[in-house]
Amino acid sequence: MPELSVSISSITAKKRRPQEALLYGFIYLLSGGAAALVVCLIVYVLAKGLPAVSFAFLSSAENPILETVGIFPSIVNTLYIVFFSLLVSVPLGVGGAIYLNEYAKNRRLVRLIEFAAETLSGIPSILYGVFGYVFFCVLLKLQVSLIAGVLTLAVMVLPILLRTAQEALKAVPESYREGSRGLGAAKWYLIRTILLPCALKGILTGILLSVGRMVGESAALLLVAGGSAMYMPQGSVFAQLSRSGSTLSVALYRYAASRGDNDTAFGIAAVLLLIVVLLNLLTRFFAGRLEKK
């Protein structure tokens, strides 16, 4: 019976399948290509940008008379925007997450809030810019200013903070809550002394993600915070927040697109990439520790 022996050998012997080999090759090629792309992009930006980065570049403002460039004002503006936006949105995001996870009894309301957060995270930043301009700059008469940028970005990162804080709270074991309640602790006491400290790492991850989003943000800030003026920071914090100014990303856009100064643009790009890489490592560190726990 020759047919039987053939079928047996077809089970045991490895059949050559040229199409499959091709497909494997294609998958490996694309995956390797994606990895190589990331590495090349980063190396290219750093190689092209880092030569422009010096202490003077980081610590001075642009000086048209001496024809020197510096990005200190943009660095300060970025720090202001990031810090004050977090000041607004972290309590809102974490508070909202606490409500959703610990207080809410109405399923409809929970779904509404979660739907709203999803919608917010789907809105592109240029539309946050248009909304922020119409609402904060014009209606609330804040003008084109850093404070308008702060408020706009606070709304933009709210869903990130809400989601990460909610996940962190969900990860706290139910037995902690039961134990606390069993000892007679009130809800706020439980939240303050047990839930928040336990969820701290998750909340920090959310903050890092938000910082990354804000540092990279340009479209919205271009509209609401402007940024042609690049003066050294002066006066009180409040005075500084009420004038316009560019963050690093906005400055990059201005140097590259409206002035064609690619060397400065790459210098800023290198600084931005270093920040992004650093934030990424920190996020990994916190998220990793969270998983191990």
């Binding site: 990895a35 508070g95 809410a104 602790a185 590259a256 643009a265 934030l279």
Partner: protein, 301 residues
């Protein structure tokens, strides 16, 4: 207030505190809802008037955008946005799914972790950096193509598509990978036991089973591509003409930052109108996304 703490809350002040805190948390939770309401209301309130003034059909289907002349037709921008997004998806979706297959099924040892870290990094790169790289690295290559085709050197739809496809790649990879991992192992085991090869199993069983998750990744990618402004502004050339692959295009998003600074009056209102059109697009994509997720959820349950 003395700081003598008791965890048992019978005192009146503590009960008040409890009530205040619970109200405060409710308000925080409502912040997201209020934001969405305000954004919707103000997008419509600012973008609506110009559409009414110009006429909805003339605004959406007009082929000429010439604000100085009072012509506000945004059809070229709508079509360019659709073409650029479709092109980006056409490149990024197959690539992303195949990389996700590699990450979730084929990669050995610690390789997936390393690759995923790089993909995360790709997602974190600011859009202006993509724009800069597109303008410096990619544009010269496309200039050569344009010269070869006898066209003037400029930004192009092709450049916009290329930059967008790289920008949405991380989203598609991450979401597809999650979807592929969520496919029950029995499905694959059954396919393998029936004699299918590894790849047959992946392409005939795993990917079809994960299709709603992959579709969700695609919808997220579409949303991101439609909404991306700055990177595209820096590479697309920005002429408001009907889209062709090697000619400059202007997308819905790019008109806003480009003309914002010098626009006023009806021109500025027209930019708000573009914002409103974009907002409607995004809401439709969001609705599609949640429909996909709901269907996927019901299917799994």
């Amino acid at each position: 207030m003395t700081e003598k703490q008791s965890i048992i809350s019978t005192r009146r002040s503590k009960l008040t505190l409890e009530a205040v805190m619970s109200a405060a948390f409710l308000l925080c939770g409502l912040a997201a809802v209020v934001s969405v309401l305000f954004i919707s209301v103000y997008m419509v309130a600012s973008g609506g008037p110009v559409i009414a003034k110009v006429g909805i059909l003339k605004f959406l289907l007009g082929r000429v955008w010439n604000p100085g002349n009072g012509q506000f037709g945004i059809l070229p921008m709508i079509l360019s946005s659709i073409f650029a997004t479709a092109g980006a998806i056409l490149i990024a979706l197959p690539t992303g799914v195949l990389v996700a297959v590699f990450l979730s099924k084929l990669a050995p040892g610690k390789l997936p972790g390393a690759l995923r870290a790089l993909i995360d990094l790709l997602a974190g790169i600011p859009s202006v950096v993509y724009g800069l790289l597109g303008a410096i690295l990619l544009a010269p290559l496309i200039f050569k193509l344009q010269t070869w085709a006898g066209l003037p050197q400029s930004g192009s739809l092709l450049a916009a598509i290329s930059v967008l496809s790289i920008m949405i790649l991380p989203t598609i990879i991450t979401v597809s990978e999650t979807a592929l991992r969520a496919v029950p192992k029995q499905y694959e085991d059954a396919a393998l036991a029936l004699g299918s090869t590894r790849l047959q199993c992946i392409f005939r069983v795993t990917i079809p089973a994960a299709k709603s998750g992959i579709a969700a990744g695609m919808a997220l990618g579409v949303g991101r591509a439609v909404g991306e402004a700055m990177a595209v502004t820096m590479v697309a050339g920005n002429a408001a003409i009907l889209p062709e692959l090697l000619k400059p295009v202007r997308l819905l998003t790019t008109s806003i930052p480009l003309e914002w600074a010098y626009s006023s009056g009806l021109h500025r209102e027209a930019l708000y109108g573009i914002g409103l059109v974009l907002f409607v697009f995004i809401m439709i994509i969001n609705a599609a996304l949640s429909a996909i997720l709901k269907k996927g959820g019901a299917h799994n349950a």
